[in-house]
């Protein structure tokens, strides 16, 4: 790894926003491959994610790292070899929404952001989403992963209802479903019929990555065990 590349990686991982964006701009001006710059930022995000899981970083650091990646991503956009006919390749499609009866959206918004900057195509359908809307959006967007968000414990029933409706509509086998948002654990996952659950935005990204890569089977869908 070149000196500047190591420096960029360290600046992003160490939350030095202004210096990181400045260095990224400098590297791009000097002719550095924009894909290489993005790869370094993603590597830095992995370090940030690890520090978050270890309790060194918390949510503000995770978000700030994502914003740095976002800013640097904007710098690389004009330089990337893409056209309207050939949009940037995405890792997969994720549909996310807060289930009906629940208005909480902060966690959902953070997960949406993290999925987006990690290369997923994300459709956020909002809060208090009725079952029928989830079905309609799934049929239209054809996601590989559906993420159900809910903070209230009483939202678990809404999650179960939504998943049952997806099954009744004949759509269940076409996707994996993950849940998250509040006091969720393996018991809740089993109750709702979801394939997996996550306690953090990082979990949501990892789940989506694994499932879309086909590396995760239904019986071992819980990342929490692996993280612990």
């Amino acid at each position: 790894m070149k000196e500047n590349e190591k420096k960029l990686l360290d600046l992003v991982a160490d939350m030095c926003e202004e210096e990181a964006v400045e260095l990224a701009q400098m590297m791009l001006d000097d002719g550095c491959d924009p894909y290489r710059v993005l790869a370094l930022c993603r590597e830095a995000m992995d370090i940030v994610g690890k520090r978050f899981e270890e309790g060194e970083y918390f949510l503000p650091e995770l978000i700030l790292a994502g914003e740095m990646l976002d800013q640097i991503g904007q710098l690389t956009k004009p330089l990337l070899e893409e056209s309207p006919d050939k949009p940037a390749q995405k890792l997969g499609r994720v549909l996310i929404g807060t289930v009906h009866g629940d208005l909480h959206d902060i966690g959902k918004n953070i997960v949406t952001f993290m999925l987006d900057i990690n290369g997923f195509e994300v459709r956020d359908i909002g809060i208090d989403v009725p079952v029928a809307k989830f079905i309609k959006e799934i049929e239209e967007f054809k996601p590989q992963v559906v993420a159900l968000s809910g903070f209230l414990t009483v939202a678990f029933d809404s999650m179960k209802e939504t998943i049952e409706a997806i099954e009744a509509a004949g759509l269940r086998d076409k996707m994996k479903i993950q849940i998250g948002g509040g006091q969720i654990d393996e018991t809740v996952r089993a109750y709702t019929g979801a394939d997996g659950f996550g306690l953090t935005a990082i979990d949501a990204v990892e789940f989506s990555r694994k499932w879309i890569n086909g590396a995760c089977d239904a019986d071992n869908g819980c990342l929490q065990n692996a993280v612990a």
């Binding site: 939350m15 926003e17 309790g55 918390f58 949510l59 503000p60 978000i63 700030l64 994502g66 914003e67 976002d70 009866g101 629940d102 208005l103 909480h104 959206d105 902060i106 918004n109 953070i110 952001f113 208090d128 209230l152 414990t153 009483v154 939202a155 809404s158 006091q183 306690l199």
Partner: protein
């Protein structure tokens, strides 16, 4: 078995009060209490300025003090209302009345937070949302201090404040608590799963009577399910 509470100790009948919080005082207090450093501190300062300049919050509390008529199993008879509150029934021998409180910042705050997320200003959105929670808890603390002061004036004391969803008060009592406090006339309503709207609102109840004591606020962390992952606990 129904047990009538002889309310010799109830000094006053049903009483309702409003507390309007001075936003600039509240923000000044919260600005001093921050543990944020570096970039996080700068973002927090931006959030504080935003609340002040755009007047994103109109923090207020309303509360009603209702004498207890009787107790049956886990239910308190409050005349017009019946409240299923095992946490209060447990102290019913000391109970003269129940005070129900609703606090809110109003609807503008959450709309601004959502807008920031849509603008991809995530750090600022998060900082603003966190500030909103602090402002709401500040409002609740001011309300609880006022209530305790008024109780002492009557020669009584207030016990712990319980919110629907806490141990001793089920979430399904949310609508009753909000109704008791008169929350609807201050723009606070209860959604079908028990969530309050506006989102930056909370409700709580406490017993008022003789010899009641309250747990220090920091001890509430001991029973919080999120304590292990909470950065406020670990900072």
């Amino acid at each position: 078995m129904y047990q009538t509470i002889h309310n010799d100790t109830a000094r006053e009948a049903v009483m309702t009060s409003d507390i309007n919080i001075d936003l600039s005082c509240a923000l000044a207090t919260l600005a001093k209490k921050s543990r944020a450093v570096g970039t996080e501190f700068k973002t927090r300062c931006k959030a504080l300025d935003m609340v002040a300049e755009e007047v994103l919050a109109a923090p207020m509390a309303t509360y009603t003090n209702i004498p207890v008529q009787g107790v049956r199993e886990e239910v308190l008879d409050l005349g017009q209302f019946t409240l299923q509150a095992p946490g209060l029934v447990a102290i019913s021998s000391k109970l003269a009345s129940v005070v129900a409180v609703v606090c809110t910042l109003g609807p503008t705050f959450e709309a601004r937070v959502s807008a920031l997320f849509e603008e991809r200003k995530y750090s600022l959105a998060l900082a603003l949302d966190e500030l909103g929670n602090e402002l709401l808890f500040y409002t609740a603390r001011r309300a609880s201090l006022q209530i305790r002061k008024e109780s002492r004036r009557q020669g009584l004391s207030a016990g712990n404040f319980l919110s629907p969803g806490d141990e001793g008060l089920s979430l399904d009592q949310q609508a009753i608590v909000v109704s008791m406090a008169g929350g609807e006339s201050h723009g606070v309503s209860v959604m079908k799963l028990g969530m309050l709207s506006p989102v930056k609102s909370l409700s709580m109840v406490a017993g008022i009577g003789l010899g009641l004591s309250a747990q220090p606020l920091r001890k509430r962390c001991d029973t919080c399910n999120s304590r292990e992952r909470c950065r406020m606990q670990t900072c």
